[in-house]
Symmetry: C2
Subunit: 456 residues, 2 copies
């Protein structure tokens, strides 16, 4: 369901259901039969606050705010050139690899070790070996860094499809993964050859390409048993049909659910002739007309759970809301808010599933922090004689509770906003969830899920 701007019933229902607090649940026995790992790409305390202020106002919260277990996860990354030296800001590749495979690696790497590049087994691979079904659901291309970290092993996240493997003037690092060079091929080729039972997301164009031998990755996937669907009707038709399923609902990243009114986004501050600051026009959030009739993250998650529920020995699924990050890079708060809401709606589906199947571990994690900050508008120092304003871009978002929230994007002056190095929140419920407590390292999540499932 997608509806922006007005206080529609789901807002009220959510606020009531949330209830404003949690009580600890008793730790539940492991092993868990199923695990659902959500990743909000670029989620940190600040990005959550921005979305919650808009969606729920002062008196409500996300479904996962009420989960019985929460932790802060440290995001660790190392230099590729010297894996003994820490870097303090990660990306979706290093963060995804930490969660999927339990190792601290360098930025850009997909389930491989920094330095020597050795591949590391992922939760989905371990689950598959143990006879569980596996699934990936994302709003990005399924070849993008986060989903790739659960299914592929490669040195560069950018080697998404066969065409990306060609060397450029400055980068020939995909070459070593070419099949002709003894490698596993691009991420799309690795997905086509994988055991993952269900993948839903974007990225059609990375599959609609011939590999080195001239065979398209789509053909490879079909030959390996995947049924390929490209729209909501195709997805519906696949319901109840056995076999592996590859749903590609867009060429690359899927369109976001919400945009700002009048394309509202962060802009540089403008000034009156006397040098005083002009308030940027405020805006609310509205449905993105480009979203179309493709399935939402909530609908993909519901479909996936209905299918994976049939697994005789349980399943492991990763669900990503990818464009919280991508919209933050672009200074688009309504995009961030709508995609955080999409995450929450998908988590609600999983929580309802978990209520029926209490042997399911649900984790809501993040790969790294992001740029957006709520700032005072006007400035705390507005009474000074000189103009007081942020040096980067700012957006003023009208909230449903009648306030105006100013969001600053101040990490890059010339192009896209940067990731940040803050610790990120993690939420969990179900068997094994008690490990999500206190201060952990992001890579600990791998072991927490692995142990909960008895895959260690």
């Amino acid at each position: 369901m997608r509806t922006a701007l007005v206080a529609v019933p789901w807002v009220l229902a959510a606020a009531v259901a949330w209830g404003g607090g949690t009580t600890p649940e008793a730790p539940q026995p492991t092993p868990a039969r199923n695990a659902i790992v959500f990743i909000g790409d670029g989620v940190d305390d600040h990005q959550l606050t921005i979305a919650r202020n808009y969606l729920f106002g002062a008196s409500g919260g996300f479904s996962f705010d009420a989960f019985p277990y929460r932790a802060a996860a440290r995001v660790l990354t190392v230099l590729e050139s010297d894996p003994g030296i820490p870097e303090y800001v990660g990306d979706s590749a290093s963060g995804g690899t930490a969660i999927a495979a339990g190792v601290v690696t360098s930025r850009g790497r997909i389930a491989t070790r920094a330095g020597d590049g050795r591949p590391v087994p992922t939760l989905l691979e371990l689950a598959s070996e143990a006879g569980k079904w596996t699934g990936i659901v994302t709003t990005s291309s399924i070849t993008d860094a986060t989903p790739a970290s659960f299914v592929a092993h490669i040195n560069r996240r950018y080697c998404q499809g066969p065409r990306d493997m060609r060397p450029t003037a400055t980068d020939s690092r995909c070459l070593q993964a070419l099949k002709a060079n003894g490698g596993p091929g691009s991420i799309a080729e690795q997905i086509a050859a994988s055991d993952v039972d269900l993948l839903l997301g974007g990225g059609y164009r990375h599959f609609d390409q011939p590999d080195e031998s001239g065979v398209s990755v789509l053909s490879q996937a079909r030959d390996a048993g995947y049924r390929v669907v490209r729209d909501a009707a195709g997805l519906s038709a696949a319901a109840g049909q056995p076999g592996k399923l590859l749903g590609l609902f867009g060429d690359d990243t899927l369109p976001v659910e919400w945009v700002g009114e009048r394309d509202g986004r962060a802009t540089s501050v403008a000034f009156e002739a006397d040098g005083s600051v002009i308030d940027p026009a405020s805006f609310g959030c509205v449905d993105n007309p480009e979203f179309g009739t493709r399935p939402t993250l909530e609908e993909m998650t519901a479909f996936a759970l209905e299918r994976l529920e049939q697994a005789p020995d349980g399943f492991v699924m990763m669900v990503e809301s990818a464009s919280i990050d991508k919209q933050a890079h672009q200074g688009r708060p309504c995009g961030q808010i709508g995609e955080t809401r999409a995450l929450d709606e998908a988590v609600r589906v999983a929580t309802a599933f978990q209520a029926r199947h209490t042997d399911t571990l649900v984790v809501v994690a993040s790969d790294h922090g992001h740029a957006a900050q709520i700032i005072p508008w006007p400035s705390l120092f507005a009474s000074r004689p000189d103009a007081q304003y942020p040096p980067g871009k700012v957006a003023r978002v009208r909230t449903l509770e009648g306030g105006v929230m100013a969001v600053s994007y101040g990490t890059n002056a010339t192009y896209q906003e940067e990731h940040t190095g803050t610790q990120v929140p993690v939420f969990a419920r179900g068997p094994g969830a008690a490990g999500v407590h206190g201060l952990i390292q992001q890579a600990d999540l791998f072991g927490i899920v692995q142990r909960a499932l008895g895959l260690d």
Copy 2:
């Protein structure tokens, strides 16, 4: 103890003591006899990560990271002109008032309601009425917003001493608090007339002033039974002496413990003649020579606990590390890191006390978020042909584990950095601590402490 830059034994000891995880403790019976409320001014997930990266590297944490209970607290503020309308960024006055008195108020207000200005009773006042001893320890002036929120009631945080009550060209709002106008006087005057048993911090100059009738606030304090001390020797001499104690160890905010090498702080990015970005010089953190021999926050906390331990019916104390905020305003990461360390050292003292007196609730809270963000350096987009750099100021801090952490301050282009509106972390242990769980509102902390002490 103050020692910066080198990996001295306390770092190792702390890392060992912390141990990298926590286990939930069983909820302990209430009422608690004592409560110690720490406030890290301007602390949020990001500021904690900056300090932890420097102090402990990847494998250690703060004492409070291992507390059994943690929550995210929403920081709520409202417009003074219309208290029904939310603002999304607080200050130390509204945040201090939320924690001390349990109400959501407007920025700048000290334990009074937005709009009508009605005073609201504070935790320290309720404790005192119930026969408990009370204390305030801070690295700011004890008349500053956070400590004031626990002991005074006034419409403007800036009405710190008698001289501040005079109207200026643009602001006459302190006038209504003048005693001649039937008010309670400035914050310093209210402290002098208060029941608080012990106050340790800065702010001598706000007391060394005559009030409207020509009597200095210091004299008022002495007449009301306060022994006034001004240095470590005076504090030592007061040990074991009965009666109320006012320790003023500086004229205003106390000097911070650490500074950057060569006065290292965030600066605007500079460029080579060809337009490429010049890496700002990296620096470590060193002892601030201006700190002198005055007592540290850790030492003040230890002194206060030794004294309050004698209270026949228990005590309530607020301990603030104030300059995490003030140094963030100025773009000084080493100041932030050193004062976060000071907070941690003081919490360690309280945790040791709590181990001996398990009927003590310890809470570590924050009043609002702040500007500093860890960013990648060079930029994630450094391979682009145009220079990629943050629009605000940046500092590059050399960490003890051998990395370089870039910290961006991008919220104000012309003066001091701004507060931010992120949710903030809260940590708790001891009887009643189980209320610090999930997502709470900052003002809920008042009720959590009040109920834990049986003061409701």
